[in-house]
């Protein structure tokens, strides 16, 4: 259906939306009215399961003037590539883009820490007028001479695209002169959303894949795509797979290394998490190197166990499957009883989710259910229509599903549903607290590993700690 087609249904959809809001609330207060009014144009991006019959449409660009929680193309590329710790990451643009992305994600490295510094060409007015190519060339030389990195990523920002610097030719030239891969990441912010940035990052990674063959590779080898080793999560996964006798050839990109990415084409299987960011790379590798891929999630017992079983199944090796079963059994024997007290305390509490991708939202709904909680709001920044179809099958009736939301909407939904917990990122945290409810960071600022079995327990603890915090008793939520 084209956008024009949708537009034709606008009036109808709007009245449906208003009806569904009316159903949620017996009488429409003046605030509610303005809310309904506000929803104009967003009818297709908000669905209440069991109330609305229309489909939740994802992937639409944000309206100009919205207080969107979304970011840009550059942001998408930068967050995906940044964990490669022995590569240089040079931001070509005015200082801001480098400042704001300086070590903001806890993507841990077991070795080099080069990725945690901020390098910028700091373009000034004269560079905007006369071009920034020379400065870029010089900066690359200065950096490579000093740090001898294994590869360099050069991010081009909004303005570079407009002033017409030929970043690619500078990169080619330096690559030749310095004999390391110098990759232009053409991530001008305005060229789309964060999701488009993921794709550009995948292309950059793909240009490295297949350029080295020197690592030892086991027949039971996989690449992990889409884990960024936040709070050391990759290391937990590594433990699990090691116990199954499986080698992780290239973690992409958490605790990443250039050489491992270069060897990634020799793995038997790509295991893709956070499919929004990495599926493009998996598809490219399948096309060129014939490596199959599976999509997994590591959040929650069910999904984590599936991830291990799926990999075992792929290798058609009984001993691997046996080890996987044993591992899962071992883990669950301790985990299930450990979760019990949290589940008792949290039974019937309500959660709101607003995260980056839909896959994470799906895992979260399941993980929350495991600890007795019900998801009443499920939203994402970058989900697509297909993702939302899947999300809807998992959510309970009455759950409000929303695409590309904003603070006004979210806080209104929280009030309507009486949520006790908000799961989101940096910009949602203080809003949740102002509303007097608990908050769990499931985004890149999380400090606790939430993946895997240990992660599930951490998650339960964190949710428990925030939902049952004594501070909320001092908040009078009923006061208008």
């Amino acid at each position: 259906m084209t956008d024009n087609g949708l537009y034709g249904f606008k009036a109808e959809m709007r009245s449906m939306q208003i009806q569904s809001i009316t159903k949620r609330q017996d009488k429409i207060t003046p605030k509610q009215k303005s809310m309904a009014e506000y929803l104009e144009g967003r009818e297709n991006q908000i669905v209440t399961k069991g109330v609305d019959s229309h489909e939740l449409v994802g992937g639409k660009p944000s309206v100009a003037g919205s207080v969107s929680q979304r970011a840009c193309v550059f942001c998408g590329s930068r967050v995906v590539l940044y964990p490669i710790a022995d590569a240089l990451h040079l931001v070509h643009g005015p200082i801001g883009c480098a400042s704001y992305t300086w070590d903001i994600r806890g993507a841990l490295s077991s070795g080099p820490e080069l990725h945690r510094s901020s390098f910028s060409t700091d373009l000034r007015e004269k560079n905007i007028v006369f071009g920034g190519q020379d400065k870029l060339y010089q900066a690359l030389h200065e950096l490579i001479d000093k740090h001898h990195p294994k590869a360099a990523f050069v991010y081009s920002t909004c303005i570079v695209g407009v002033i017409g610097d030929d970043v690619q030719s500078v990169c080619k030239r330096v690559q030749k002169e310095k004999d390391i891969p110098v990759i232009a990441v053409m991530a001008e912010g305005f060229q789309g959303s964060k999701k488009d940035g993921y794709k550009i990052a995948c292309d950059a990674l793909f240009s490295l894949v297949g350029t080295d063959e020197s690592m030892e590779v086991s027949p039971l080898s996989i690449n992990i795509l889409g884990d960024f080793n936040l709070a050391g999560e990759l290391w937990m996964l590594e433990e699990y797979y090691k116990k199954m006798g499986i080698q992780i050839l290239a973690p992409i990109t958490g605790d990443g290394r250039v050489q491992k990415v270069q060897n990634a084409h020799r793995a038997a299987l790509n295991v893709v998490q956070c499919s929004g960011s990495m599926i493009h790379l998996a598809k490219l590798m399948k096309e060129k190197y014939g490596i199959p891929f599976i999509k997994v999630s590591y959040f929650g017992i069910e999904d984590m166990s599936d991830a291990l079983y799926e990999v075992a199944k792929f290798f058609k090796d009984d001993s691997v499957m046996d080890k996987a079963r044993e591992l899962v059994k071992d883990q669950l024997t301790t985990l299930i009883p450990a979760l019990e007290p949290y589940k008792r305390a949290l039974q019937g509490k309500k959660a709101a989710i607003y995260v980056g991708g839909a896959f994470k939202a799906i895992s979260l709904v399941k993980a929350l259910r495991l600890i007795g909680m019900k998801t009443v709001i499920a939203g994402t920044q970058t989900g697509n229509t297909e993702d939302y179809r899947l999300l809807k099958t998992i959510c309970d009736d009455g759950c409000i599903m929303v695409d590309d939301s904003n603070p006004v909407e979210l806080s209104e939904f929280v009030k309507q549903t009486g949520a006790d917990l908000f799961i989101g990122g940096v910009k949602e945290r203080p809003i949740a607290y102002k509303l007097g409810i608990g908050f769990c960071d499931h985004n890149h600022e999380r400090k606790l590993a939430l993946a895997g079995y240990d992660g599930m327990l951490n998650f339960a603890k964190e949710v428990y700690e925030t939902v049952t915090s004594p501070v909320w008793q001092f908040v009078n939520k009923n006061k208008e």
Partner: protein
């Protein structure tokens, strides 16, 4: 070591900035705009800019920060962002209903040449701006100046769009607030009230970025300078610009527009700068300094005296914004400390002159740098060459502090890893005692942890 790549030997850099001691204009504009009551800052550029600035401010203040964006696409960067801005204005007023939209530009919209004057007047003509509401704007190209410049430009735009001179002057002094914490603004207002001076502060982030938890989310908190007060600044008899880098331009504009004379003073961090501010306010508001403030000053002096042996000759490295660094260096000298390395990414002659003036005799070995490549990498190299006893700056200093095992005092923007900067003021005499205690705590905690066992002392 996190910064294991830093070497004592200075490398020759002409093009490269490493670990900047600055960021870009728009975030400053966004912060300043939040100091106007009922104002929604609007970022005219790609979506990422707005998202980054909101995140940066949220991480620092731990408060909701609202701003909208023109959401540029490939099309807008080719054909101009005019259509985006006009439709954004319409959306914002119908959806978020602010009193004022404060538009600032980005590198992208500046480079493609969007003319805000034209676009906004068209939006006005086409009836996109409801009666009683206002759209103001300022130019904040990211490749000129720094976040400090952006703040200054936004504050100037308040004058340009609101200040009006009527025939009747009022016995009021404008306090043009430079880049400070909400707590500092609150403290300055308290001092003015204590002095019974009639003042208007703008911008004013107190009760905007330090709001109480009520169980309700207010998109527009109760604080911020009102439009009426902002208009009345044109009738005030004098303006004091607190922090020359961030307020001088606004003061000049106000003088040109409404004939309000002004002087700029440093942000009142430390004893001398507070003296100067209070004297200025006393003179221009024509009010005496009350005993209560004299007593506060006395308590500060008392505390300095009690602890002076801990400060003497301590070598300090500092980085941040010039409006903060200048009075801070002065305060450290008051304490008998030795500021030896000072770095700010914000360019400007005033900083260099002030540093020379303050330090040429007392600390002849001082190294300071401002502007391009005056970054934290530079400062770290200096520290590697000869160490310091203390580091003062924003949270990004923690890498250096850890690697070099230096006591570290967090001050400036952003402080992302500790709470409280929007709670406890550093300005005024009371603020100076807060700062002094913070400095002492950092020293003594460090000493208690690292000194030999037999030297652990119970009594200071």
């Amino acid at each position: 070591m996190l910064l294991r790549h830093t070497t004592a030997k200075e490398i020759d850099r002409k093009a490269l900035t490493i670990n900047p001691a600055k960021t870009c204009q728009p975030v400053g504009a966004m912060y300043a705009a939040l100091g106007l009551h009922g104002c929604l800052p609007h970022s005219h550029g790609s979506q990422g800019c707005c998202s980054y600035h909101r995140s940066a401010l949220t991480r620092h203040f731990k408060e909701p920060v609202m701003a909208s964006t023109s959401s540029f696409s490939e099309g807008s960067s080719v054909f101009g962002g005019s259509a985006n801005l006009v439709s954004a204005i319409e959306t914002i007023f119908s959806v978020y209903d602010p009193e004022v939209i404060a538009v600032h530009t980005t590198c992208l919209s500046e480079t493609i040449g969007d003319d805000l004057t034209q676009i906004v007047s068209k939006a006005n003509e086409d009836g996109k701006v409801p009666a009683g509401k206002k759209v103001i704007f300022c130019n904040t190209p990211s490749y000129v100046g720094t976040h400090v410049t952006g703040y200054a430009n936004q504050v100037s735009s308040f004058v340009k769009f609101f200040s009006t001179a009527t025939p009747k002057k009022r016995n009021v002094v404008n306090l043009v607030a430079g880049w400070m914490e909400p707590s500092d603004m609150r403290e300055i207002k308290r001092i003015a009230k204590e002095m019974e001076a009639r003042t208007i502060m703008f911008p004013d982030m107190s009760d905007v970025l330090d709001t109480p938890l009520t169980g309700h989310y207010d998109m527009y908190p109760k604080g911020g300078t009102t439009q009426a007060d902002m208009a009345a600044t044109g009738d005030s008899k004098f303006s004091i610009g607190i922090g020359p880098y961030t307020t001088e331009d606004a003061c000049i504009k106000l003088e040109n527009k409404c004939k309000v004379k002004f002087e700029t003073v440093e942000i009142p961090i430390g004893l001398k700068a507070t003296d100067k501010f209070i004297m200025s306010l006393s003179r221009h508001a024509n009010v005496p300094v009350p005993d209560s403030l004299t007593a506060e000053r006395g308590r500060l002096v008392d505390m300095i005296a009690d602890n002076n042996k801990n400060f003497y000759d301590k070598r300090v490295a500092l980085f941040g914004d010039p409006d903060t660094l200048i009075p801070l260096v002065e305060f450290l000298l008051t304490l008998d400390m030795k500021p030896v390395y000072i770095v700010t990414g914000t360019p400007g002659k005033h900083f260099d002159e002030a540093m020379t003036e303050l330090l040429k005799e007392k600390v002849p070995e001082v190294k300071f740098k401002s502007g391009e490549r005056a970054d934290m990498f530079q400062m770290h190299q200096w520290i590697k060459q000869e160490g310091v006893d203390m580091l003062i700056g924003n949270s990004y200093g923690k890498y250096i502090a850890r690697d070099e095992n230096i006591p570290f005092v967090r001050l400036g923007f952003p402080v992302t890893d500790r709470p409280g900067n929007n709670f406890f003021p550093y300005v005024g005499y009371t603020g100076a005692t807060n700062l002094l205690i913070k400095i002492m705590d950092a020293f003594l905690e460090h000493k208690d942890r690292t000194c030999p066992e037999e030297k652990v002392e119970l009594v200071m």
